[in-house]
């Protein structure tokens, strides 16, 4: 006949325990997050402190001289851009086409599951193995020699699985209702892909691709046997030339060459990271731009 009385809203022992647990967990997880950032900050700080003195306009625009102990990094910078650019030209059309096929056309059967398994495993193959594959396949079998072409194709094979996976995920994020609407209006699969699926996933696809690029910038092993050399006085002029590359240059000035001024390897490392950061920021800015202009 009457409502039960309540004691007010003060904390019971259980509440106190819950609150204590909650605080402890939050602290622990927060600490782990900070521990994660610490190495990144230290690395960057160290690189900037030690490498900054080496940087100058000339550093980026001149060749190395005196057995690579002085001078700039121009050939390595240009070489890396070549390698990454050619790798992109090879891997993006192939990877995007494969992802579209797998996501939009292929039915779920034994063969496509096998392909998916292969892609996942390919992504896990160590880069040194890709390097040997590239050496055997592109340098020797196809007789491209040690060249930008061979090195870039090796990089392309290495990044292909990641391009496929990220593209496929982006495609699958496009709501199924759009496809259904299109099909019910009589559109073929290709019309649906071209008019609706791709326009709504292109930003994600490009972002994945650009992020992938930034990863290839730093790869050393796959290009070492296939197209990159320690030193060449010439800038590459075509895909059959050999070239210097940032990652390999860093390796040589750090470990292979004697009497290098201390700031030089740090300057190279800082430039390499700078390239990656520029590429990543570009991709993020691009994605934000596209996100703003589209919503569903």
């Amino acid at each position: 006949m009457s409502q039960p009385t309540i004691e007010g809203f003060g904390a019971t022992p259980l509440d106190i325990r819950n609150r204590r647990n909650q605080k402890a967990i939050r602290l622990a997880f927060g600490a782990m997050t900070i521990m994660l950032i610490v190495p990144v900050v230290i690395i960057l700080a160290l690189l900037i402190a030690r490498g900054y003195p080496a940087l100058s306009w000339d550093f980026f625009t001149t060749h190395p001289v005196d057995n690579m102990t002085k001078g700039g990094i121009l050939p390595a910078l240009v070489g890396t851009l070549w390698l990454v650019g050619v790798a992109l030209i090879a891997s993006v059309p192939l990877g995007v086409a494969a992802a579209i096929y797998l996501s939009e056309y292929a039915s779920d059967n034994f063969l496509t599951r096998l392909i998916n398994l292969a892609i996942i495993n390919l992504a896990g193959v160590p880069s040194i193995v890709h390097a040997l594959f590239g050496l055997g396949a592109f340098v020797l079998f196809f007789e491209f020699g040690t060249s930008i072409l061979a090195a870039s194709l090796t990089l392309a094979v290495m990044t292909l699985p990641v391009v496929i996976v990220s593209t496929r995920e982006t495609l699958q994020a496009v709501p199924q209702s759009f496809r259904l609407a299109c099909w019910s209006l009589g559109a073929t699969r290709w019309q649906t892909i071209r008019k609706v699926v791709l326009p709504n996933s292109i930003s994600g696809i490009l972002t994945g691709v650009i992020l992938e690029v930034s990863r290839t910038v730093g790869e050393t092993a796959p290009i070492m046997f296939t197209g990159a050399v320690f030193f060449t006085p010439h800038l590459p002029v075509g895909v059959l030339d050999q070239t210097m590359a940032m990652s390999l240059h860093l390796y040589s000035v750090s470990t292979q060459v004697t009497d290098v001024p201390e700031a030089l390897p740090y300057g190279v490392a800082l430039s390499l990271i700078g390239m990656v950061i520029v590429l990543n920021s570009a991709s993020i800015a691009f994605r934000m731009h596209l996100r703003r202009t589209k919503k569903w």
Partner: protein, 282 residues
Amino acid sequence: MGTDPKGGSNITKGDQGAPEGVPLSGSEPASPAIRTRDLNLWYGDFQALFDVDIDVRQGKVTSLIGPSGCGKSTLLRSINRINERLGYVRTAGTIEVMGHDVLADDVELTPLRRAVGMVFQRPNPLPLSIRDNALFAYRLHRGGKGPAAEEDAVMEKALQEVLLWDQVKDRLNQRATELSLEEQQKLCIARLLPVQPSVLLMDEPCSALDPKATHAVEELLWKLRGEYSILIVTHNMAQARRASDECVFMLMGKVVEHSSTGDMFVTPKSQQTADYIEGRYG
């Protein structure tokens, strides 16, 4: 599909639910807009439709009612063959639209879907402008954009027909996904019209809408009736009763009863129908 959808039997309709007793103006019995015979359908091993025989009359609104999971959507989706995209669907029997076999080997899906428009439960305009949505099917079926003047005329006519023109005529380049749900659903109907479909299939087109919007869409259906043959799935008994000429009641993949709306709601032939109408199933 050359058949005139405004077939002769159209005049019968004075008030809704008129008994079907005498076939009026029996001059030419127009072929049904949709006719299925012995239609069986399996999802893998699961049989969802059993020997479904229905005749949807031209120029009428036919309601498809029945409890959840009885196969209404399945039946609808087999008519424009949109369920084929699921690799594991198997269909046996015949389906004809305006007298033409739908399941024949030489049927192209594009002309089939031009003749059979579909409206979904959740409004699903494409993430394009209102204009591009209204003209999507039109462009698809003529193989590209048309002359600007023609496109404008086609679009205006379609949007007028669904009573949407006045609301959107000043913002045709706005994204269709920004419209209200009612407007979106009307746009989804409008985009079908420029390619002159014979049949409109609607799967609970109002269930995502509020009562006022539902009413508006219902009125629209009643207006489109005559020019198009409409098969509409609904959970809303009042809607079926108000806004349809005939009703088909399904239960567990079978058609239990098909009669004029008046008969169905006043003197149902089957006890199961009566139970469902009175709310004794889900």
